[in-house]
Symmetry: C2
Subunit: 355 residues, 2 copies
C-alpha cells in the first residue's frame, strides 16, 4: 500500500566490504577494536548501499537513540501562534543538531493527551526530554517522572519545594525583570501603574506579578488585570483597566504580545503613549517589539539562548550518565552529588519609545 | 543528575491487583482472553500505581508504536513563519489524536540533517510517516524508502513516473486552481496578467505555473517572476515586474503570503488594487486573506482537511497492513492490488475585493 523498498542488510554490507558480519557490526556500533583501513572500507560500503543500521536493535545494546523529545504542554494552535516557542525551538534545534541528535517534537491537543505523551517518553524512543510551559496542576511532570527519562524543564516548574529542588530547569529572572520594569515606570513619575498578568497557573506569570508587587507593595488591587499572554487577552484586560481605573498612567504587560493588544486599545480610546499612558512589555520579541506603535520598551529575556542552554544541560547530563552508568537513559537522582538547582538567566530593560 | 523516580513494575501491578504477571501482561496488551472483572481489577491497579507499560518491549511483539512521524523538509524558521504548516499540522493532530496516536514532529535545520531523520524513521520509533514540502532534488524520499516505514506524502512528490505511481500522496488541484484564477482575471478584461511563482523545485509551485501557462499560452515571458512563497519574495518579484512591465494590470500570486507582499509594493508605488492592478492569491489563508488591503480574492485549498486526509490514509494503511501481515509497520508494495494513486482535492475561487 505504501512506499517501501527492501532495506540493505548488514550481510549485504559485509559482502560488499569483504569483511565479516561481526566486523560490520563493530564498525556500525562505534568502531572499537577495528583497524582503520577496515573501518574505512566498511563505511564506504555503508554509504554505497545506503545501509541504515537497525537502531531499534542497536539501542537495546547502547541504550542511546541520539534523539531528544521536546514537549510543549500547550495546544498546537498556541505553539504556532506564539513566536516564543519558535525562538526556543530554534535554540534547541541548533544545539541538538550540532551534536547530531534528532529533535522530536511531541504535540498535544489537550490535557487528555498527556498520558499518551508519557507513554511515548517511556517507550524507549528518546534519550531525554525538554519540557515547556507547564501549568501548576499539570499531570505531565508526574507522567514524565514515571517514564524515567532525564528531563530539563523550561521555566521554574513551581512544584512543592522538594520536588522542585530535584528538577533541572532553565529560567530567566522573571521577578527581577518585572521589578526593573515597574521601577522604571515609577522613575518616570507614574503613580497609577497597572499590571496585565499572564496565565497565573504558570510560574513565569506568577513571578512577574510578584516582581510588580515587590515595588507596588501597597498598590491599588484594581490596577491588576488578568491576561493570558496573547494580544486578545491584552486587549480585554486593557479595556477592563480603562473602565475600572480611568486615571491609569502606566502599564506593565506580562509579555510583548499582551502589550501589543494593550497598545491597540489605548490608541482606540485616544490615549497617547507614552504621554498619557506609558507601556512596558516583557520578552523583547523581535520584530514585534520594534514594529508596535510606538516601538515597545520591554524587558529582554534571552529566549533562544535559554533553548540552547536547556539542550546543553540535557546532553551534558546524558554524557555524564554514560560515564557513570555505562548506559545513560536511566536518569537517576545523582546520589552523593549536589543536586543541581535551576539556572536563572538575567534580564535587561530595553528602552524604546513606549516608556 | 535529572528528575527520575523508579517506575512501577508489572510485578507491582500484579501484586496490587492480586493476579499473576501473565494476566497483567495480557490485559496491558489488549485484554484478549481475560475475564472482564479481572480486566477491571488490573486496570484499577494500573491507574493507582501510574504504571506505564514498557512499550519498547511491547512493540517488539506488537510491532506498533501508536506514533506517526511528521517530517517537514524546511528549516524550522520557515515551518513556524508559514501558517500553512500550522494548519496542516492541526488537521493531522486532530486525526491522530482521535485514534490515540502520538504526533512526532521531526524538525530539520537543513539538508545535512536528512540522514539523521532517515535514521530515526528506520529506528523503530514510529509506525509511519507523513512527509511535506519535498524539493525535487531532495535525498529525503530515498532515505525514507530505505527506512522502510509506510509513508504518505503531502503534495505530489514529482519524481520519475514509476516511483511516483507507487507513492501515496494528498494534493490539491494546483493546476486547475491556477487556471481558474487566471481565467477570472482574463474575464475582468485584463490582458497583461503576471504570475509570481513559488519555489519551482516544488511541485505545488510548478503546477500553479503550468496552470497559468495553460491559459496564457502565448503570454509575454517577462510577466513571470520567481518568488518563494514568502511575503518578502512577493515584494521583490512585484518590484521586478513593475520595473520590467509597467503596464501590468493583473497578478496571480502563487500563494497568499506572496500576494500580501505584492499588495504592499503596489500600494507603495501608488497603484490602486483592483482598479489599476487586480491581484489573486492561492490558499485562502485566514485571517490573512481577509485582512490584506484590500481583502484578497484567492483560490481556496482545504489545507486542514488535507492534513486530516493524509493521517487517515496512513492509519488506514497501517490497519490494512495489520490485517494482511499480522504485524503492520513493514509497509510493502501491496503486490497484486491496484497501487493507489494520489488523492487530489478540488479548489474553489473565493472572491473578495482585490480582483
Amino acid at each position: 500500500m505504501t512506499d517501501a523498498a527492501p532495506r540493505p542488510t548488514l550481510e549485504a554490507v559485509a559482502a560488499r566490504a569483504g569483511v565479516s558480519r561481526a566486523t560490520v557490526s563493530r564498525v556500525v556500533n562505534g568502531g572499537d577494536g577495528v583497524r582503520a583501513p577496515l573501518v574505512e572500507r566498511v563505511q564506504r560500503a555503508v554509504d554505497e548501499l545506503g545501509y541504515v543500521p537497525n537502531r531499534a536493535a542497536r539501542s537495546l545494546v547502547t541504550r542511546r537513540h541520539d534523539a531528544v523529545a521536546v514537549v510543549i504542554a500547550e495546544p498546537e494552535t498556541r505553539v504556532f501562534a506564539d513566536p516564543f516557542f519558535a525562538l526556543q525551538l530554534r535554540g534547541i534545534s541548533k544545539e541538538l543538531t550540532a551534536h547530531d541528535n534528532q529533535l522530536v517534537l511531541l504535540l498535544t491537543e489537550g490535557r487528555d493527551d498527556h498520558t499518551r505523551v508519557g507513554r511515548y517518553l517511556a517507550g524507549g524512543h528518546v534519550d531525554g526530554a525538554l519540557v515547556f510551559s507547564l501549568h501548576l496542576d499539570d499531570p505531565l511532570p508526574g507522567l514524565i517522572r514515571r517514564a524515567g527519562v532525564p528531563t530539563v524543564f523550561g521555566g521554574r516548574p513551581g512544584w512543592r519545594d522538594d520536588d522542585e529542588r530535584a528538577a533541572v530547569y532553565v529560567d530567566s529572572d522573571n521577578r527581577g525583570g518585572a521589578r526593573d520594569a515597574v521601577r522604571h515606570l515609577a522613575g518616570l513619575g507614574r503613580t497609577r501603574i497597572a499590571h496585565i498578568t499572564g496565565p497565573l497557573d504558570q510560574t513565569s506569570a506568577a513571578d512577574r506579578l510578584a516582581g510588580y508587587r515587590d515595588v507596588m507593595a501597597d498598590g491599588d488591587p484594581a490596577l491588576v488585570a488578568e491576561g493570558d499572554f496573547t494580544p486578545a487577552g491584552g486587549e480585554r484586560a486593557m479595556r477592563d483597566l480603562l473602565d475600572r481605573c480611568p486615571d491609569v498612567d502606566a502599564v506593565f504587560a506580562a509579555n510583548d504580545l499582551t502589550a501589543s493588544g494593550a497598545l491597540r486599545v489605548l490608541r482606540e480610546r485616544g490615549r497617547r503613549v507614552p504621554d498619557d499612558v506609558a507601556v512596558i512589555g516583557f520578552d523583547d520579541m523581535l520584530p514585534l517589539a520594534e514594529q508596535t506603535e510606538p516601538p515597545l520598551t520591554t524587558v529582554r529575556q534571552p529566549i533562544e539562548e535559554m533553548g540552547r542552554l536547556m539542550a546543553r544541560l540535557l546532553l551534558g547530563s546524558l554524557r555524564h550518565g554514560d560515564a557513570r552508568a555505562g548506559g545513560g537513559g536511566g536518569g537517576g537522582g545523582g546520589e552523593g552529588t549536589e543536586p543541581p538547582t535551576g539556572v536563572v538567566l538575567p534580564t535587561t530593560l530595553i528602552r524604546r519609545d513606549s516608556a
